[in-house]
């Protein structure tokens, strides 16, 4: 369902030219939980930005559900992000003046849902991430793990085709990281949610169906986990 063909992303010009992506091609199937890993500067975040329509490739094409997203103008890309993609950031990126419930409510409201429907969906989704009793708390009143779960709820509220997570556990301790990864695993298994997650923690790869290893802007190798396939429900337990 997601196809990248010969993606390059070049920053700067001449001697200062940096090839953050250098001819990357890949396919991600619906319901897959894919990890992208590699050392700093390998291009994994750049790739995620391309998939999240936050940046445009210098060359190459990205097709999501059969639609070439490169020709879309800014307004159409914004709408695409709102309706088809969910994005989880490393530092939670919640609006500090909004409660957990309101942070989740905002994108659903922007999508044009009726207020009643928004309320039901927000309450459901916050319950799903285990924050049913924290809905009226401001981000400043929640732990890092709880904030990240609110961010995940926000990313999921519009039922996105793909959930993109950019090192979502980077600011969390191992216990909270497990909670987040377990949650991703559950969402992937129960909702068949396609997830693409950037990480550079080795132990996170246990959760992925497939891990793409990147280096110097290229895909170095791919590794598929044994006995895992999208929707199989036969996943490794967390350590």
């Amino acid at each position: 369902m997601i196809t990248g063909r010969d993606l390059t992303r070049v920053y700067g010009m001449g001697a200062a030219e940096v090839r953050a992506l250098d001819g990357v091609s890949f396919e991600i199937q619906k319901g897959e939980f894919v990890g992208v890993t590699g050392p700093s500067g390998s291009g994994k975040s750049t790739l995620l930005h391309m998939l999240g329509l936050l940046d445009r490739p210098t060359s190459g094409t990205i097709t999501i559900d059969g639609q070439d997203v490169n020709p879309l103008d800014e307004r159409a890309r914004t709408q695409f992000r709102l309706r088809r993609l969910g994005y989880v950031f490393q530092d939670y990126a919640l609006v500090p003046e909004l409660t957990a419930w309101e942070n989740v409510y905002l994108p659903s409201m922007a999508r044009g849902m009726q207020a009643r429907e928004c309320s039901l969906v927000c309450t459901d989704i916050l319950g799903l991430v285990g924050l049913g009793d924290r809905v009226n708390h401001l981000p400043s009143q929640m732990s890092g793990g709880e904030q990240q779960r609110v961010a995940i709820a926000r990313a999921l509220v519009n039922r996105p085709a793909i959930l993109l997570a950019d090192e979502p556990c980077a600011n969390l301790d191992s216990r909270n990281s497990e909670i987040i990864l377990d949650l991703f695993q559950r969402l992937n298994r129960d909702l068949r949610q396609t997830i693409v997650m950037v990480s550079h923690e080795e132990w996170h790869t246990r959760y992925f169906h497939r891990t793409i290893f990147m280096k110097d802007g290229k895909i170095e190798t791919e590794r598929r986990a044994v006995d895992k396939s999208p929707g199989s429900g036969d996943l490794l337990s967390s350590p």
Binding site: H49, G52, L54, D55, E74, R75, T78, Q79, F80, R81, L82, R83, L85, G86, Y87, F89, A93, V95, P96, E97, L98, E102, Y105, L106, P107, M109, A110, R111, G112, L138, R154, A155, N158
Partner: protein, 400 residues
């Protein structure tokens, strides 16, 4: 469009409710003061205009002034003209008078004021000078050897207190010498002193028309005929009526007679007002701009995140516009409350101009104009910083 506005309002409402209350309150108060400044000065200027207009009608011209035809010094057969005009519906009073210069002397002090020769009863049907006698009495129809002086002309023994050349402290009962411009000099006993707040009336000397005609050997003539109408504002229509009744002399409205004087005053005030208004609006623009700009720059990363999760740039801009409009709305209300307080204080302690007490005129067009101009600058000052910050590339904004 409406859905987008709902989202923007939702976001703006919570940003206001949970944002920095101190900065918000200070901004609102500043906007309130700007609103007061936008309304107050023009209201005083209008008040001054109203005051001087009323002064012109009550103490100088009545509503209409009839003057001799071109190349003629006097209006002839004035009694007939007065009778004819007096019968016109809507006319309350008709007062023929002579105006001339004369030299008044008292204890060696010689002054050359304006001299008005009037029929006292007719004069009081048109002007209010007769009701502003501060000492003694006003002229009577039969008075031939008596004068009434304006208090500025009468003056003070202490010359430093005089604002115009005066007679050095004439009081009721004193005798002054008046030399007319035909060379005749006569003695007159001062019957009354006028204190009217009208610069014109307070600087003049008044005798009866009967006496003037005896000095100049005139009969049934006048330099001016003043007409008082029942209502002010219908002067143009009354001019046409007078013409239709056969008045062939020049007919002026009080606005035309006082135009230069008033235009100069109002023109000068309007320059001050214009500068004050521009400065106020610039202050409003700068304050709102800075508040919104700091707000958006401080939330640069957050704005990038909002765009990344699919919140359209126009929604973010609109949310800041709502915040600017909230500041405008509350600022205007607070300004209006403060203005009412100022007006109450001024009602108890009026501002006194040389022409009298000035009542600020706060009317609907002034409020609407001030509110609208503040509304527009608030929108501009809210829009530009939000537009500037939100046009930044998403990744640059997120990376900070």
């Amino acid at each position: 469009m409406l859905e987008d506005s709902k989202v923007a309002f939702f976001f703006a409402k919570r940003s206001i409710a949970r944002g920095n209350k101190g900065t918000l309150s200070l901004t609102i108060v500043i906007l309130g003061m700007v609103f007061v400044n936008l309304v107050f000065l023009p209201s005083i200027i209008t008040g001054v205009a109203v005051l001087f207009n009323q002064q012109s009608i009550d103490y100088s011209y009545g509503n209409l002034v009839i003057e001799p035809r071109k190349n003629e010094i006097y209006i002839s057969n004035v009694d007939e003209l007065q009778r004819k005009i007096g019968q016109i519906p809507g006319v309350n009073g008709v007062s023929p008078r002579y105006i001339t210069g004369a030299t008044v002397v008292y204890k060696g002090n010689a002054v050359t004021p304006q001299l008005y020769a009037i029929n006292p009863d007719d004069d009081q049907a048109v002007l209010k000078i007769g009701s502003r006698v501060s000492s003694g009495e006003y002229l009577g129809e039969a008075d031939t050897d008596k004068v009434v002086l304006g208090f500025r002309l009468a003056g003070n023994e202490d010359e430093t207190q005089d604002v115009i050349p005066s007679l050095g402290g004439v009081e009721v009962g004193n005798v002054v010498d008046i030399t007319f411009n035909n060379g005749v000099t006569r003695k007159y006993r001062v019957k009354g002193i006028i204190t009217s707040d009208s610069y014109d009336a307070d600087s003049a000397v008044f005798i009866t028309r009967k006496e003037y005609e005896s000095v100049f050997g005139l009969d049934n003539k006048a330099n001016q005929v003043l007409v008082r109408t029942r209502e002010t504002g219908g002067e143009e229509a009354m001019r046409i009526t007078l013409m239709s009744f056969g008045v062939q002399e020049k007919i002026w409205t009080w606005q035309e007679k006082s135009a230069n004087f008033l235009d100069q005053i109002i023109g000068s005030f309007n320059i001050i007002n214009f500068i004050g208004t521009v400065v106020s609006l610039v202050i409003a623009v700068v304050v709102i701009f800075i508040v919104i700009f700091i707000n958006t720059v401080y939330r640069r990363k957050q704005i990038g995140i909002l765009k990344a999760i699919g919140i359209d740039r126009s929604i973010i801009i609109r949310s800041y516009l709502f915040q600017a409009l909230f500041i405008f709305a509350l600022g205007t209300l607070i300004g209006a409350a403060f203005l009412i307080l100022i007006l109450q204080i001024l009602a108890l302690n009026p501002i006194v101009f040389p022409g009298g007490a000035v009542a600020p005129v706060v009317d609907a067009p002034l409020i609407a104009r001030s509110t609208l101009s503040l509304f527009v600058v608030s929108l501009i000052a809210g829009y530009i910083p939000a537009w500037m910050t939100t046009r930044e590339d998403i990744l640059s904004a997120i990376r900070g």
